[in-house]
């Protein structure tokens, strides 16, 4: 159970933060279909940064990592730095969308699609050149565990029982998970309780009215897209680090699109998005780890046994669990389309003359 919860959280967090990325763009009036592409780019930059820093031994990182138990704080600081770099990379990449959508008044759907094509193409191109194979590993050797926080690092004994909550939230977790949750909360407050947030949302609802009150719509929309890009780039890195074996390969398995679904499922509201992300993360978690998942703690992987069942096995197999989130979001869309409240002006290029 503890495994299920912490694993669900690990899958839900990138979805949550990338869905929030979508919210920032759409609330400012720009459809960000390029979330997937930005995630891929962020994941690549993150993997590349760690890879290069390891090669160059920046900050004596290899020596620091030799004594992980004592130096885990430094390693986590290093992780924070990489997160920041991926956020910047994502923001820079999203400028392409902002430029097309805001300055050139281009079709945002096609622009986003183009970026979704451009990002994996560029990333694969460079990965092949850099790594001479189809994937780029963040680490050499066993360094993959650098960033994982274990209970021994926090001063507990290896055999010590730190309770259900402790095992779930303190052992074998990633700092990124908590950073993302904190960021999610802070940015949600930022979007709803500050002047800037209100102005941003106004630009997504009625930009002409906002402009008449002296708000610079161009600037607001740029901010929305850039924040969106930063979050999505970071989300891509978090996804790669925590769920994709620290490997960048020009693919995030449709997570960006799933995040888009989470955003709509959550009706563009942070709290609902957090709930939707947990639901989707749960299914992702089951699909990914059904073969080892021991739900009730009796040592039997229930779902694995089910998938081997002669008749039910054909239905209750991992393909089903991978399918469910998409089917649910389509059904939810179908049933809530009347209530669904998308920002009114999203997707429409801002035209001063259209009052």
């Amino acid at each position: 159970m503890s495994f299920l919860i912490s694993k669900t959280l690990i899958y839900a967090v990138p979805l949550m933060i990338v869905a929030l990325a979508g919210v920032f763009a759409e609330r400012s009036g720009v459809i960000n279909l390029a979330l997937e592409g930005i995630m891929i780019f962020g994941a690549f930059i993150g993997a590349l940064t760690i890879n290069l820093m390891q090669k160059a031994n920046t900050f004596q990182i290899i020596d620091v990592a030799k004594d992980m138990g004592a130096n885990w704080g430094k390693l986590q600081a290093f992780l924070l730095l990489v997160m920041l770099i991926t956020a910047v990379a994502g923001a820079v990449f999203s400028l392409l969308l902002a430029f097309a959508a805001i300055n050139l008044k281009a079709d945002q759907t096609i622009g986003g699609t183009a970026l979704n094509m451009l990002s994996p193409a560029l990333v694969c191109f460079f990965i092949r050149l850099i790594a001479q194979q189809s994937e780029l590993r963040m680490f050499k050797g066993d360094a993959a565990s650098w960033f994982m926080v274990k209970k021994t690092m926090l001063g507990f004994e290896k055999s010590q029982d730190i309770g259900f909550l402790g095992e779930t939230f303190l052992n074998k977790v990633y700092l990124t998970t908590y950073i993302c949750i904190i960021l999610f909360v802070l940015l949600s407050i930022f979007l709803y309780k500050t002047r800037f947030g209100l102005r941003l949302r106004a630009c997504g609802e009625n930009p002409q009215a906002a402009a008449s009150l002296g708000i610079n719509v161009f600037k607001m929309r740029y901010s929305g897209v850039i924040i969106s890009g930063a979050l999505a780039g970071m989300g891509g890195f978090v996804y790669t680090l925590t769920t994709a074996n620290c490997v960048a390969n020009g693919d995030v398995a449709g997570f960006g699109f799933l995040a888009l679904a989470v955003m709509i499922f959550g009706n563009w509201k942070p709290l609902s998005i957090a709930g939707a992300a947990l639901l989707f993360g749960f299914f992702k978690c089951i699909a990914a780890s059904y073969s080892t998942l021991d739900i009730n703690g009796d040592g039997i992987a229930l779902l694995l046994n089910l998938s081997k069942h002669p008749t039910w096995g054909k239905i209750l197999n991992p393909h089903l669990y991978r399918l469910i989130p998409y089917v649910i979001s389509l059904l939810v869309l179908a049933f809530t389309s009347k209530k669904s409240r998308a920002p009114k002006a999203e997707g429409i290029p801002y035209d001063k003359g259209m009052r």
């Binding site: 392409l96 869309l333 179908a334």
Partner: protein
């Protein structure tokens, strides 16, 4: 001359050429930068790469002295014709939807649905029961039908529940990817005969036969698209009649869209749904039919690709959506959504694809550079209207006010 430039068609062609040129230049610059920053490749290597990207269709490999040689290469040209088939048809799928005011980003999913149905039908009918051409036609129709059904889902959601088709298409894409993987996972169509390869479905040239009471597959007993002598003209290539079928379909789509009442209704509905309904057009039916036809086109792309008999499917398709669907967007955008132009832009895309493969074979670069070029072209096509306006704006005296495109804006507003 100025009259000529003023014409909308001319401006579309010019915008297309500009997009292609910028895309190729961007690719070349990338090659150059990488070449100059790498000591192994260097300037000469970069120059080789650029030449291959621009003229890889006519590459004949390397001469004895190690220099690149160019000339007529029937194998590459034949392969270009073969690979253009799914691109043209997916392009038509996107183009038809776009003309009717819908952005069909779901061509990938429809393509997968077509793949699944085609292979199931082609490989499930025991060899010898029906004449081969009947099996071929049945399999083709199954692909078309499956694509149409899959395309109709977002159409229905859009028409009756007003759900944005872009979102519905993205969802149905991933549903198709997982569903098709599932369908193949529980099927008996996984290639077990060639033990060296795992994870592939039988080619359609394999036929189901009953040997000593057990059903097995044997190569050479299945179906394949006739070559119609194209393999004589382009020896060693995969060219077959598929390209002719694709051209016929493109012409048919053109006629339907421009010369029939039905096509007019579809387009009118795309331009303004409410006005169309006011004029007595059944708008909901039109939207569903547009998406279904678009899906059928994408399904036919898959059917023709896999019925060729020389391609096999890696069935874990859930890992990556087929590129044909997204490249179809590029084909359609480059063609300004003109069905006839889709034939040429499809051929161009296919050629660029092969240039990338030649590049990967002959130099230290890899084939992903073509995806970069295609992506740049799609990016530019997002503001092709701007390029067109800019083109006519330069002729200020001739055309003071560029004719406003009276086109709908598909994909506008996710979940309107």
């Amino acid at each position: 001359m100025s009259e000529f430039l003023k014409k909308n068609g001319t401006r579309s062609v010019l915008a297309t050429i500009i997009s292609i040129l910028v895309g190729l230049i961007a690719g070349s610059i990338l090659i150059l930068i990488v070449g100059l920053s790498s000591s192994e490749i260097g300037l000469s290597g970069a120059w080789e790469g650029i030449r291959l990207i621009l003229a890889g269709t006519f590459s004949t490999g390397r001469s004895a002295s190690g220099a690149l040689s160019f000339g007529f290469n029937p194998q590459i040209i034949g392969n270009m014709l073969f690979r253009a088939v799914p691109l043209i048809l997916c392009g038509l799928s996107v183009a038809l939807a776009y003309k009717t005011g819908l952005f069909n980003i779901g061509a990938s999913g429809q393509y997968l649905a077509g793949t699944c149905a085609t292979l199931y039908v082609a490989l499930s009918i025991p060899a010898g029961i029906l004449p081969q051409f009947v099996v071929w036609i049945l399999a083709f129709l199954a692909g078309v039908l499956a694509g149409a059904l899959w395309g109709a889902i977002p159409g229905l959601l859009k028409a009756y529940l007003n759900i944005n088709e872009v979102l519905a298409c993205i969802m149905t894409n991933w549903i198709a990817a997982n569903l098709v993987t599932w369908m193949f996972d529980i099927s008996n169509l996984k290639n077990m005969v060639e033990g060296t390869k795992t994870g592939y479905i039988y080619k359609t040239t394999y036929g189901l036969v009953n040997l000593d009471g057990a059903w097995t597959y044997k190569d050479g007993l299945g179906v394949a698209t006739p070559k119609l002598g194209l393999n004589k003209i382009f020896p060693g290539s995969q060219a077959n009649a598929g390209i002719l079928i694709a051209i016929v379909i493109a012409v048919a789509v053109y006629i339907i869209l421009t010369k029939t009442t039905f096509g007019y209704e579809l387009k009118a509905c795309g331009a303004n749904r409410h006005a169309a309904r006011y004029a007595g057009i059944k708008d909901k039916r039109s939207i569903v039919l547009s998406m279904a036809i678009a899906g059928a086109l994408a399904g036919s792309a898959a059917a023709l690709y896999y019925l060729s008999g020389n391609t096999e499917l890696y069935w874990s398709v859930y890992q990556k959506l087929p590129a044909e669907g997204f490249n179809g967007i590029a084909v359609a955008m480059l063609a300004s959504c003109n069905p006839i132009a889709c034939i040429f832009t499809g051929l161009f895309m296919s050629a660029i694809d092969l240039h990338g493969l030649q590049l990967a074979n002959l130099t230290a670069y890899n084939e992903y550079i073509t995806d970069v070029i295609i992506a740049v072209i799609v990016y530019l096509s997002a503001f092709s209207l701007l390029i067109k306006t800019w083109l006519s704006g330069r002729k200020k005296t001739a055309a003071p006010k560029p004719a406003k495109e009276n086109k709908a804006n598909p994909g506008k507003g996710v979940a309107e």
